[in-house]
Symmetry: C2
Subunit: 135 residues, 2 copies
Amino acid sequence: MSESFQAVPVGHVESSLLDPEHAPKQGLEGAPSAWLVFEERVAEGARDLEIGAELFVLTWLHRARRDVLVVHPRGDPRNPETGVFSTRSPDRPNPIGLHRVSVAAIDGSRVLVRGMEAVDGTPVLDVKPVLPGGW
Amino acid sequence: MSESFQAVPVGHVESSLLDPEHAPKQGLEGAPSAWLVFEERVAEGARDLEIGAELFVLTWLHRARRDVLVVHPRGDPRNPETGVFSTRSPDRPNPIGLHRVSVAAIDGSRVLVRGMEAVDGTPVLDVKPVLPGGW
């Protein structure tokens, strides 16, 4: 049995997307803007975010399945079964979502980001700047 | 108090980098190749990884501090203190590392990747393909 690690949300997503079935598969595919709402206890960590910044947002996809190792990509049964580590399926052993977004507005400890495909209420684990070249 | 989530490693890093003090800050900065060693129980999830694939590897930076909200970027006191969510510091509330690498070789459930700056023994939480354009 492996050791495990306790991930504690630093905030959550406030979005008009309520249903994963209707959410776009990726942020580039017409996802709306959404608010990242930071917890007060970590808000100082977000103090230097600026409008226009490109960010990676890491979320915990709390509605995903963790017991899945192969999937039909994009949930389409015509796509052959593929190991989850070669897909961006939310269903995977650690259902951590990786979202590339840009900052559209800032209101205290709330940050509006463009192109966020996670549903309302999704816990946020981390936010990082995108490095030049998408690294 | 927030709820929390249990992240269970899917594998670990085998690397010649032993000491975080000597590791490059980013994978682009001369990091060596390293093996991702998948746990047998999830190895099926890695079955479709291919040589040349571009991947994001998510790690748990087990030596990092979690009680830090502002840092001097790159550990250099000449850099002004900055909120951690605007930096790639390993020290942050959830010390999840994001590493962009490419697959150099595959040996069963072991995958050699280029440009991996995490130290030997670092737990791996997830592996995802990089989407076109670095998303």
